[in-house]
């Protein structure tokens, strides 16, 4: 008999209100499987503020504090300190926020919470735009993408700036644990969450969570898109433990970025030249990451 690599317990019930094929929903399911019942969630304005269902329905079997858009870092700090002062140090406190709420409006509160060193998890489920409000550009939207606020038009006004690397910003806070993950690699994600659980202090995990509605691909392709993001080095999977980098999945023969881009309507407009520019950007990022891994592992 095979040993199960993913916990059987479910803390996310069926009947959520997300779009078909939602990557963020899969992310939540795995996060809760990894962290277990004694977990308190804090969720700001984002898709997940709606996904649990309309009052009085709720598809999560853990306590949940909905909060304002920009306060996740402050909210998890407050929950943590209150729990500790009541002697409930065994309870996991998890901020679960989108990329807008993390890379943009919530970055200040997140930075401060990380610097103060509270014993909390911050999960950024990254669907690379303001998806709950209907696909607007965020700082985490990748280079070349169409969104409703980078609609192209005659002037080809797409999102040309590089994606902000929140994981690297968090590494700069000298916190014990930073990692990236994505839903196509659940064992990798769960082992990272479990490793994080063993550490005291702020733990930050950025989970690439493909969004069929905003990325413009068929809902049954979510896992495939997620896997391709890793196999093309668009979204490398790594962890940084006390400053030491380790790439957890290294594609042997990385696929062309074009394969990833052309699966998604949000990149359909790109010219060969633009694709080449994005490929170059991705290659440089990958090389830089390999260097960081090598340098940080040296003594």
């Amino acid at each position: 008999m095979h040993r199960l690599t993913i916990p059987e317990e479910e803390y996310m019930l069926s009947g959520h209100t997300a779009c078909l094929g939602c990557g963020a929903t899969i992310a939540m399911r795995y996060v809760l499987k990894a962290l277990g019942k004694r977990t308190i969630l804090s969720i700001p304005a984002c898709c997940w503020a709606v996904i649990p269902g309309v009052y009085p329905h709720r598809n999560l079997e853990v306590p949940l504090l909905y909060t304002a858009f920009e306060v996740t870092g402050a909210a998890i700090s407050g929950i943590r300190e209150a729990l500790d002062v009541m002697g409930k140090e065994d309870v996991n406190v998890v901020g679960f926020a989108g990329d807008g709420g993390t890379a943009d409006i919530g970055l200040q509160a997140l930075s401060a919470a990380a610097e103060r060193g509270h014993n909390v998890f911050y999960i950024m489920y990254d669907n690379e735009a303001y998806m709950n409000t209907g696909i607007q550009r965020s700082g985490s939207t990748p280079m070349g993408a169409w969104t409703t606020t980078t609609p192209g038009g005659k002037k080809r006004m797409y999102k040309w700036e590089p994606k902000k690397s929140v994981a690297e910003i968090m590494v700069a806070h000298n916190i014990p644990y930073v990692a990236t993950a994505t839903i196509a690699y659940p064992e990798d994600m769960i082992s990272k969450l479990r490793r994080a659980k063993e550490m005291k202090g702020p733990k930050f995990i950025q989970i690439l969570s493909p969004c069929p509605t905003g990325w413009r691909y068929p809902p049954d392709k979510t896992v495939e898109v997620s896997r391709l993001a890793v196999q093309t080095n668009v979204f490398p999977l790594y962890e940084v433990v006390n400053g030491k980098y380790r790439i957890t999945i290294k594609p042997k023969n990385p696929k062309p970025v074009k394969d990833y881009l052309m699966m998604q309507g949000r990149f359909r407009h790109l010219t060969e030249e633009e694709i080449a520019r994005i490929q170059k950007h991705i290659d440089e990022n990958w090389k830089a990451l390999l260097k960081k891994e090598r340098c940080s592992q040296e003594d």
Partner: protein, 395 residues
Amino acid sequence: MKMILTGNESAAWGARLSRPKVVAAYPITPQTSIIETIASFIANGEMDARYIRVESEHSAMAACIAAQNTGVRTFTATSAHGLALMHEMLIWASGARLPIVMSVVNRAMAPPWSVWTDQLDTMAQRDTGWIQIYTENNQEVIDSIIMSYKIGEKHNILLPSMVIEDAFILSHTSEGVDIPEQEKVDEFLGEYDPAFKLDPDEPAGFGSLIMPEGPYMEFRYKMALAMEDARKETGEVVKEFNEIFGRNYSPFVEEYRTEDADAVMVVLGTIGSTAKDVVDNMRGEGYKVGVARVRYFRPFPVEEIRNIARKTNMLGVADRSYSFGPGANLYAETKSSLYGFTDIPVKNYVMGLGGRDITPKILEKVFKDMLLISKKGVVDKEVEWVGLQGDERWS
């Protein structure tokens, strides 16, 4: 125990005696010495609380909300721009029915920059669902913080409270304060008993999405009922506090020599003590004037204001802020309470903005203007700015 304390030290003592378990704080002049005093209480082991040094007032309120929702008593303090930055979370705190207590030191809003007293900051938060109490002296600061926990934490109320003091006039001015005994405060407040909390053993969600046919409107209606209950409970709590701690607070409005007064000045905060002094002098000269110092602005003391109107011929409302449009807020609330109940003249005197001194001489002139109107029975001008540069009338 008697101590010489500033208003801000009194606020810190009020917090200390109420035993909050989480304090989240961010500095801003003229509030800073409240959170500095609390930091030294905690550092010296005199206060047992977690102290979260947040990066903004917005996060201070967010952290208090999350901590209080987890099941502990919380405290924070702010002023002016910090309070304005909190606005979103103030509405969140009351909507989430969390009885947080916060000290607010009234300070002018920029531009131009001014750190001196002015009540626009708290007036602009009138509609956030917080109980608002304006204090007149340092004793009232410390006592009001303790009473605010007691009132807000009642399960039929569950509303947050702002305990408000004027910048510098109270915040940085020392006077003798009677520190209530810790044992008596403990007995008065009791252990914090949250009505609900985040608990993995009884998982619940707080603040989820509601459709128009869902109970959003009912939640707001229940808050309105709670604010009305706060009106009743405050009377009881103030009475109990007076008996236990030997004070003499009237719950909503402190009336001073209003019996038989031809004109009564309605005020908030420290204008009250200057006005009372002026009243004593003028009474000595035969002028029949009085003062009504409004303590609770939310809930507003509608009945009390109507009762005062019944026994006088004129009300002059002194405001230390302005609401651009109809006149200042205390005036607007006073007049709104009186509409249909009396036809005595009511005039608004706007004064002391940005910390401009409100002297006994100015108030005496205002009282004399009020007496003139009281005799005529009509106001010359509904809103009058008092003490503008170059205006010799009030100097």
